[in-house]
């Protein structure tokens, strides 16, 4: 198991190098140039000379392979370079936003999983009853209502009832936990609804499948209490496929909340992404893509390892 984990971690390296090659060269293919946007973006007229000088300063005039090589060497020493726009280190730029995005993602996961497990379970156990229909309607809603729109509804309700508007600045949890939680619980709910819908439906269908398994019949034939049949025999098996969904949804929340962040006035990774793309801020985009890719690969590894923990049939012996 340990050897397997090490193997998998080592395998992350070629995967990430692949991502690095792709993102680096794809960015260079896309039209648009940061220096142009920076110096001529607001309509100002700048001489070609100035532009060339700026390009030279940023190192954009060097051959592509040299640039790529420098970037790779930098990453190997954990130096992701500086943002071409703000000139601050990429790591600093991302770190401030990541804190917020990560917290929203974790809170949304909590909300979603805590609601999804009882909802999915009840729907499956009382299949075709009013409980099941209620859960099915709720979850269909979660899948079809865009998170940002639901977020807007939440905002409008809060505004109407409590005259509350999201604060302009982000308060970290270690500074003022209450202010932090009141700020982030709403976006977490807004995205958690969709998340919860996906997971609840997954649990419902996998529990329905498990309840038809022969070993459930065996457990009942042994005279096991019905509650124990469900919690010990059925749910544990049914939650396995849900792990995958939870993991993948979680990683999505790190980088994919562009509009919801806008609605709640949050300065998260999604916003930063949009900003840096519109500015063609190569180093920052590259840094963020690498971060999200690493996240995906890592979460996938965690999912696989969790499977091995919960399912004794899966043993990775490299």
């Amino acid at each position: 198991m340990l050897r397997y984990t090490i193997n998998r971690v080592l395998l992350m390296i070629p995967t990430l190098i692949g991502v690095a090659v792709l993102v680096f060269f794809l960015l260079r293919v896309v039209p648009g140039d940061i220096v142009e946007i920076k110096l001529r973006g607001d309509g100002g007229s700048v001489t070609q000379e100035t532009i060339d000088m700026e390009r030279k300063r940023l190192g954009l005039d060097r051959p592509l392979l040299t640039q790529f090589g420098d970037w790779m060497v930098g990453m190997a020493t954990l130096d992701f370079g500086n943002s071409m726009w703000t000139e601050r280190p990429v790591v600093t730029e991302i770190a401030g936003r990541l804190e917020l995005s990560l917290q929203v993602a974790i809170m949304a996961t909590f909300v979603a999983v805590l609601l999804a497990i009882p909802m999915g379970t009840m729907a499956a156990l009382f299949r075709d009853s009013w409980i099941d229909y209620a859960v099915r309607i709720l979850t269909i809603g979660g899948l079809s209502i865009p998170s940002f729109w639901f977020g807007m509804l939440i905002m409008l309700t809060l505004l109407a009832l409590f005259n509350w508007l999201p604060p302009i600045t982000f308060t970290p949890i270690y500074v003022d936990p209450i202010a932090n939680l009141t700020q982030l619980i709403w976006p977490a709910l807004a995205v958690g609804y969709r998340y919860c819908a996906v997971v609840a439906r997954m649990i419902r269908s996998s529990l329905l499948e498990v309840m038809n398994e022969d070993y459930i019949r065996t457990a009942r034939a042994k005279g096991v209490y019905e509650r124990l049949v469900i919690s010990r025999h059925a749910l544990r098996n049914a939650l396995l496929p849900a792990i995958t969904v939870i993991g993948l949804e979680f990683t999505f929340l790190i980088g994919g909340l562009v509009v919801t962040e806008q609605v709640f006035n949050l300065n998260g990774i999604g916003q930063l992404f949009v900003q840096s793309v519109s500015r063609n801020d190569f180093t920052l985009i590259q840094g963020m893509v690498m971060l999200i890719a690493a996240f995906y690969v890592f979460v996938n590894l965690v999912i696989d390892l969790l499977y091995a923990v919960f399912d004794p049939r899966i043993r990775y012996n490299a």
Partner: protein
């Protein structure tokens, strides 16, 4: 003629036996129904029987006859939403089970009545340890502490013959073989010293040597501990060996019930008669054609007041439009047939088998297929790059098959018989060895030669449910190879050919429009055969082609295969685990064990005068459907299980289980030698 209300009859029967007090279980006029999209399916109709303490009662019948549903009704484990028991009474140990509430019923399940299911592979929870699963009923029903339950579990595992129980308790189901899992299931069933165990097809998924071990174990335990046993099975041999009394079920009703001897020797219902005659038997000389019960079982969604068996019954008369009651017959058994007296007096008998035996072509011609020193190794699954070892699936296998001949290939699961079939079909590449088809060496054949060979070598698979594409009509399935190989031209031609092929396999041409799910198992297998025939092959690999079918349908398919063989001069490699079926259909038989050939001889020699100890053990383990023979013979049990492919035995592969083993056997691999003319065996002792 003694006609009586069913339950009165049973009571009369019971009162006639003076030594018996109230029976342990009394099922009276049980009706079970399922609500389905196609309407109400009457899965059990008016079934009544009793089980005494310590008695072994068998329920036999084909799939859909209602035997498993009867068991689930007793356990009250029917699907909650769809299953209903509208009528009937089940008395167990003085209590009416149908009147208990869920909690009272739960307390009976696992404590007073246990159930053992068919599929040992799926009946245990894969993510819980064996220990927890055995301890569960002990702690729930008997309130044992963890320590007490642990001790009792160890005791139970020892009782069912699992060695090293302390360590085994911490393992998970996937670490056990099928036979071992079934032992664990039995241990769970025995845990609380129940009064009744219901075993639903307990050995159907197991090999014949393991089947004998498990059944013997259950029988002994039931004797020792005075536990009543209901065995549900379709295997008449199992019934004959183990049951005191038999219920024969057909289409949701009891067709006949009585003492095992009476039902087997003097069946008084045409269905039981037909069933007993349609199984190939090891204890009787092989006849020509197998007798079959023509037609298909009725659809249980259609209510009927006629005799359920009438549409398939050769003795049908006008009165059969009326549902017959259960009559008490001359042998003391109960029969649901108006003409049971005529059957008893011998006035009507099942017609003698028609058709002569197969004429085997003399082996003077060149073989259509010859296999020489065939070996196939698989890398055992390991980690990312490393492999855990080599599985020698097939080792040094050689045989010939002549035109128009059937070569039987028997062995237990994992013996390599299916791999041999796949190697011949070129679905796998052999590691070494040669396969010659019609004189062409397939490993050096040109692509054109291979293509020609693929057309002439066809296959019929085991599972008629999963081997046909569900989205294609029967016509498309059969017609596809005709297009691919351009065997006939034009649409009309293809349709005509498909119709002809369907006729060849006994299906109506209209079937071409249907989809596989609209067909019964037997019909699907016929479609599979028609598809193989479409290529005009000269050789067909039948891989367990009839094992998934019910007894009466199995006979129909075997007869069809033999008929087609004669008509089209086909050669068959008939791969199967059922010794009686192989004996019936084969001219010569190859016995395989753990990748190697143990014995090759013509059929009568194998079944009459086998030399190899493994063949003998195999034949011994297979029960024959005759209670008198079965109850007399002392079962010679084969010990142990198949060795692991990761630690194969040295010397003879059978040495770990052989009753005649000596030191020498563990050292030398015995060569396959011609011990007598045409009779080869791989054993140094003979």
């Amino acid at each position: 003629m003694s006609v009586a209300d069913t339950s009165d009859d049973l009571r009369a029967l019971r009162d006639a036996r003076p030594e018996v007090a109230a029976p342990l279980l009394e099922v009276d006029d049980l009706h079970t129904q399922f609500a389905t999209a196609r309407g109400i399916v009457r899965a059990v109709e008016g079934v009544s029987f009793t089980v005494d303490r310590g008695e072994v009662v068998a329920i036999v019948g084909e799939s859909g006859s209602g035997k498993s549903v009867t068991a689930l009704s007793i356990m009250r484990l029917l699907p909650r939403l769809t299953g209903k028991i509208p009528k009937g009474r089940i008395m167990f140990d003085g209590r009416s089970l149908l009147d208990l509430d869920d909690e009272q019923m739960r307390q009976i399940r696992g404590r007073d009545i246990s159930m053992i299911f068919q599929e040992p592979m799926t009946s245990l929870n894969p993510i819980l340890t064996i220990g927890l699963q055995i301890k569960e009923p002990l702690q729930i029903h008997l309130g044992m502490t963890d320590k007490e339950a642990q001790d009792r579990s160890i005791e139970l595992l020892q009782l069912v013959g699992i060695t090293d129980p302390e360590r085994r308790l911490d393992q998970y189901p996937h670490q056990f073989s099928g036979g071992m899992r079934q032992r664990v299931m039995i241990a769970i069933g025995l845990a609380c010293n129940p009064k009744l165990i219901i075993a639903d097809e307990p050995t159907t998924a197991l090999d014949v040597t393991i089947q004998a071990q498990i059944l013997e174990l259950m029988k002994n335990l039931s004797r020792q501990l005075d536990i009543a046993l209901i065995i549900i099975t379709h295997n008449l041999g199992v019934v004959a060996r183990y049951a005191d009394r038999v219920l024969v079920m057909y289409a949701a009703r009891v067709a006949e019930q009585g003492a095992a001897e009476a039902v087997f020797h003097d069946p008084r219902h045409p269905y039981s008669m037909g069933l007993l005659r349609s199984v190939p038997r090891l204890d009787r000389p092989r006849g020509g054609k197998l007798e079959t019960i023509e037609g298909l079982p009725p659809n249980l969604a259609d209510a009927s007041t006629a005799c359920r068996f009438a549409p398939r019954c050769p003795f049908r008369i006008a009165v059969c439009d009326q549902e017959p009651p259960l009559f008490v017959t001359d042998t003391g058994s109960l029969s649901r047939c108006h003409r049971h007296e005529e059957i008893a007096s011998g006035k009507i008998t099942w017609s003698a088998a028609g058709g002569a035996g197969l004429n085997f072509a003399a082996n003077t011609t060149a073989p259509v297929l010859s296999v020489r020193n065939l070996t196939k190794n698989f890398a055992a699954a390991g980690g990312l790059r490393s492999s855990a070892g080599t599985v020698r699936a097939v080792q040094d296998v050689s045989f010939d098959i002549y035109p128009g001949e059937t070569l039987g290939l028997v062995g237990e699961s994992g013996c390599g018989k299916t791999t041999v079939g796949r190697l011949i079909l070129r679905l796998e590449e052999p590691t070494s060895g040669e396969i010659h088809f019609e004189g062409v060496n397939l490993s050096t054949a040109s692509p054109a030669e291979l293509k020609a060979m693929r057309r002439k070598v066809q296959v019929i698979f085991q599972d008629p449910y999963s081997s046909l594409n569900p989205r294609m009509t029967v016509g498309q399935i059969i017609g596809e190879p005709l297009h691919v190989y351009k065997i006939v031209d034009g649409r009309g031609q293809v349709e005509a050919r498909v119709a002809e092929l369907l006729e060849n396999v006994g299906l109506r041409p209209e079937m071409a429009e249907r989809y596989p799910h609209q067909l019964s198992g037997g019909q699907r297998q016929r479609v599979g055969i028609a598809r193989a025939l479409a290529m005009e092959p000269s050789f067909i690999v039948c891989d367990e082609a009839v094992s998934a079918l019910d007894v009466s349908i199995q006979g129909q398919i075997i007869n069809l295969l033999e008929e087609l063989q004669r008509k089209f001069k086909l050669a068959f490699l008939f791969i199967a685990h059922d010794l009686a079926v192989v004996r019936h259909i084969s001219a010569r038989v190859v016995v395989m064990y753990f990748g190697r050939i143990m014995e090759v001889a013509d059929r009568d020699t194998i079944y009459g005068g086998s030399l190899h100890p493994y063949t003998r053990v195999l034949l011994d383990a297979a029960p024959v459907p005759d209670p008198s023979i079965e109850k007399q013979r002392e079962p010679r049990l084969i010990k142990g299980e198949l060795p692991s492919h990761l630690a194969p035995p040295t010397g003879c592969v059978f040495s770990t289980r052989c009753p005649q083993v000596s030191q020498e056997c563990r050292e030398v691999v015995p060569p396959l030698e011609e011990k007598r003319p045409g009779h080869f065996a791989a054993c140094i002792k003979v």
